[in-house]
Symmetry: C2
Subunit: 584 residues, 2 copies
């Protein structure tokens, strides 16, 4: 036994016990004849004292130890002279009788403290040292706890955790697959799953009724900030359900998670916001509801008064920035610059300053004070607010105003990571039109079912058809989403046709699922949550990387393992592969 | 809501309730004006009745339905005339008022019953239909339950579940890696992990103290029966522990699993058998202890009596086959054939028949009855037993006799899948000598530590050095194994040297782990269990495939998904790859 206690558990009641501790040296301080060591493990820090009267061997040993050495200490728990109320073990210290060095340590390349002095790249390279820091340890413990609570809830609700394979065929998700060359089937490749979408649907065909899995997924996409080539999904599917059933269970699940992980009681039913409302009020299908500042359309008020920017616009909308009336010209200019940088397509920023004694705006030339006031009032502005207005094509304008709303909220400190505003966004459109390729795409995936009452528009006006699809959104982030699937093969064929697949293509890409349906598919639906993202939401960080033990960098590399790397010619030969030199 | 109840939950107390059920049609029977339907879901089967007086629509609908159609039934629960005590729902039936067809079904390619009439290949192709059968559903439910109990125990013991990446660098495990070409790092490859061995050791360096993960692992090996290219491990590692600590926790874990999953109380401490004892008594490092028939060496008794086969042998050993004295010449011949087929190298089978009135053997020419009796007694034979003896090189003879012991036990029905005889095998040799390559190999892996008292033999007699390594064995199968790792860099260098790695090779293959150790590695150790194998042990089946939802066949193919498959030229180009035609 290397230890009798951890470094986090000794208290006043342990005084006079002889204990053995083991851990890493956080700090060594020599004060005259006394040496103090902060000994650290995952559970906490305990102060070790070597005094004048300590055995000579112990005194000699502690002279050698430095930061991050691994040592074992046998000693007696004593009450501290000067207690440290900030540390759980702050009432006691351990006077060392024996000190053994378990492992020496070189000086670490950065400080292993709450806040480190190491840069991102260095900390990624020495991830195992960065992982020693308390914030990352808290993150990993949080993730562990969340995983256990997720499974506990779903398991108690009758969901079965079923593992699906990692070596599969190419999936019809649309993103780029990672592939794995097969040695036994020359010139053929497995694909790593982008999600177990089709496999979980097959499990429903197989009668498993309620399935879940916390599962690794893979997408070989160019990495944007906070995307990882491999990520973890909480993947769920249910049979014999309608949208209401799915939302009901996963709303309870979300509340369970908030209660048991965060200690937060969400007593109200979650808001359900139709997609079009989310877009028109917040300019986003993942609105941040931690604060108000909703948009109001003012096209009718603003058009036709000779202000050409507005007159030429399809859509004019604005919001009242709470308490921002005192913004200086410089602040407004900086926001105007911010809006321009978005480059989404809306036209330059118009503002209305609302005071007790009247309004002042950047468009006073074109509108009477009453007209300006009417616009401000439509946006819900009160004295002290500043209204910001954008115009242009409807959805581009909304998206750009969304960015502005979030920027202003950030400046006002309204995006508080300790506050949570979850909601369901529902009634998504089934299709979205792509101007470039001149065709419709499935907003979710080709198996998403249309709302029964909208099926009539499938041919005449596909853009009008709403889907039985739903997203779980919190604080401006999409945490999860899903849909009720099509289980009628006629309707499925129609969908493929609308999405531009020939029957042959559809058969090739989705055939095995469609064939499975022929043997009796139950009505089914489900959803998937991004586990990394849910962790970062609960942990209050922007970055999912902080919640992944060994993440990749933005070039998709694990710099700690130095992977990917070159392989031997023998391996290439066995896989029937040759390399092609990339062009310079 | 598609249903108010499942097909497994209605009882006599529900009589007179109006319920809605949904599920698959297991069977349709027409008896005159009555139609009986067995409606099935994951939870059970409920009998549906459509009578003469049922609504015409319901009567018409049930005329159309066939096996495996998905239907929804609204009806009243009534007490059955003739109860079926074999079914949990056998006291009641549901008289249908409405029947709706949710999905038609083609006739399935095999019967979906407890025992199917479909062959292996067909059932693999239509795995989603095979998965509907009750035995596979029970297996998946067992696996789910086991996964939850594994996590519950380990989580309660303070282990943290930490996910490690799937896209890593080549691992030093020795088996062949699956590789994943990188698009962003041209001509480089990730490897899929054979196990998270080095990553979990890094987590110990990072101070996580107790780690576990139920994790997918990958090995691109030629598939033998019951091996899968991807499989699942229960992977664990602990810091500041010695072998005893690991065995203590995982013995409690094993007992927890037997108690909570199987309802079996293992009250005795698990037996701990040194490797050499397992080899000499059972001819295997994974002895089946469900029955006795231990081996006894009789070299001293048998040699030097003019029987050249024995006289020339290094080692002579035998066991008493319980109650087999009555075996016929034909049975003995068949066992002799069995022994020859093993082709391990031991010499032909010698037998001694032990009766109340004396012994009779195949070597009566060479030995006196007293000498034969002495051999039989050494093997623990009593009247009614038959002693089987083999000889040759020691370990080859033991291995071959092990095969015979298991074969005899199989014939005697002693390998009862309902009986469990778990044990720890300990004190493994650290190295094994390979005649072909004339060098030592690590029995476990290069990080396994030698026993302190044997370190002295590292140079002089490496074969004598025992490891701090242990296997968890049950019923003749290795379920798990692990070791206390080396955390002293000097000793680790020595190990690499003994294993024939140059310092450069060692640095290249294991460098990043060794470098990590320089920053303070705690003493640590752990183990991993084969989850698929543990499931098949608990489930009482020989095959791990029955416990994997979507397994691959022996050629490494998923015949349901038809994976692996060919990919587009575009994909190959993006990955800087060219295919090489396999030679015919």
């Amino acid at each position: 036994m290397y230890r009798t206690h951890t470094c986090g558990c000794l208290r006043a009641c342990n005084v006079n016990q002889t204990v053995t501790l083991a851990g890493w040296v956080q700090k060594v301080r020599n004060l005259g004849a006394m040496t103090f060591i902060d000994l650290r493990d995952r559970y906490g820090i305990t102060q070790i004292v070597v005094e004048e009267h300590s055995p000579a061997e112990a005194r000699e040993t502690v002279c050698r130890v430095g930061r991050e050495w691994v040592i074992q200490v046998v000693g007696k728990v004593v009450e501290r002279q000067s207690k440290n109320p900030k540390m759980p073990t702050g009432d006691i210290e351990v006077t060392a009788e024996k000190v053994a060095i378990l492992h020496e340590a070189e000086v670490p390349p950065f400080t292993i403290e709450e806040v480190s002095d190491g840069g991102d790249d260095l900390r990624m390279k020495y991830r195992y040292l960065d992982l020693r820091r308390p914030p990352l340890q808290r993150n990993m413990i949080l993730r562990h706890k969340m995983a256990q609570e997720i499974r506990r809830f779903l398991s108690d609700e009758g969901f079965l955790e079923i593992e699906t394979p990692c070596l599969v065929g190419s999936t019809p998700e649309g993103a780029r697959d990672f592939v794995v060359p097969s040695r036994m089937s020359p010139n053929q490749f497995y694909a790593l799953p982008q999600s177990p979408q089709t496999l979980k649907q097959l499990l429903m065909v197989a009668g498993y009724d309620k399935y879940f899995q916390i599962v690794r997924c893979f997408r070989d996409e160019d990495l944007r900030a906070d995307r990882q080539p491999e990520f973890t999904q909480i993947d769920c599917e249910m049979s014999f359900v309608e949208q209401e059933d799915v939302l009901e269970i996963f709303e309870r699940w979300a509340k369970h998670m908030f209660r048991h992980v965060m200690g937060i009681e969400l007593t109200e039913p979650l808001r359900r916001m139709p997609w079009i409302e989310a877009m028109e009020k917040y300019g986003s299908d993942k609105p941040d509801l931690r604060f108000g500042m909703e948009f109001a359309e003012i096209t009718d008020l603003a058009k036709g008064h000779g202000f050409s920017v507005f007159d030429e616009a399809e859509y004019i909308t604005g919001f009242a920035a709470t308490g921002c009336a005192a913004y200086t010209r410089k602040q407004i200019d900086s926001l105007t610059e911010f809006v321009k940088r978005q480059q989404i397509g809306a036209k330059g920023l118009v503002w209305i300053r609302v005071a007790e004694d009247g309004v002042k705006s950047s468009i006073d030339k074109f509108y009477s004070p009453e007209e300006v006031r009417a616009m401000a009032e439509r946006c819900g502005a009160v004295a002290g607010d500043m209204v910001f207005i954008l115009c242009g094509k409807k959805f581009k304008t909304l998206t750009q105003l969304c960015a502005l709303r979030l920027e202003v909220a950030q400046q006002l400190g309204l995006r508080d990571p300790q506050k949570f505003a979850p909601l369901w966004v529902v009634d998504f459109p089934l299709f979205e039109w792509d101007d470039e390729t001149q065709r419709y795409y499935a907003v979710h995936h080709p198996f998403t079912s249309p709302k029964l009452e909208d099926v009539q528009y499938l041919d005449s006006d596909p853009g009008r058809v709403r889907a039985n699809a739903y997203d779980f959104v919190c604080n401006g982030t999409e945490i999860g989403g899903g849909s009720i699937r099509i289980h009628d093969s006629k309707l499925q064929e129609k969908m493929f046709e609308l999405l531009g697949f020939t029957p042959e293509e559809a058969q090739k890409r989705f055939g095995f699922l469609m064939n499975a349906f022929k043997y009796g598919a139950p009505p089914h639906g489900g959803l998937a949550f991004g586990f990394d993202r849910l962790c970062s939401l609960f942990g209050g960080s922007e970055s999912i990387r902080d919640y992944i033990a060994f993440p990749k960098n933005n070039a998709g590399r694990d710099v700690m393992l130095d992977a990917p790397g070159y392989i031997d010619q023998t391996q290439l030969d066995e896989l029937y592969l040759q390399l092609r030199k990339p062009e310079e």
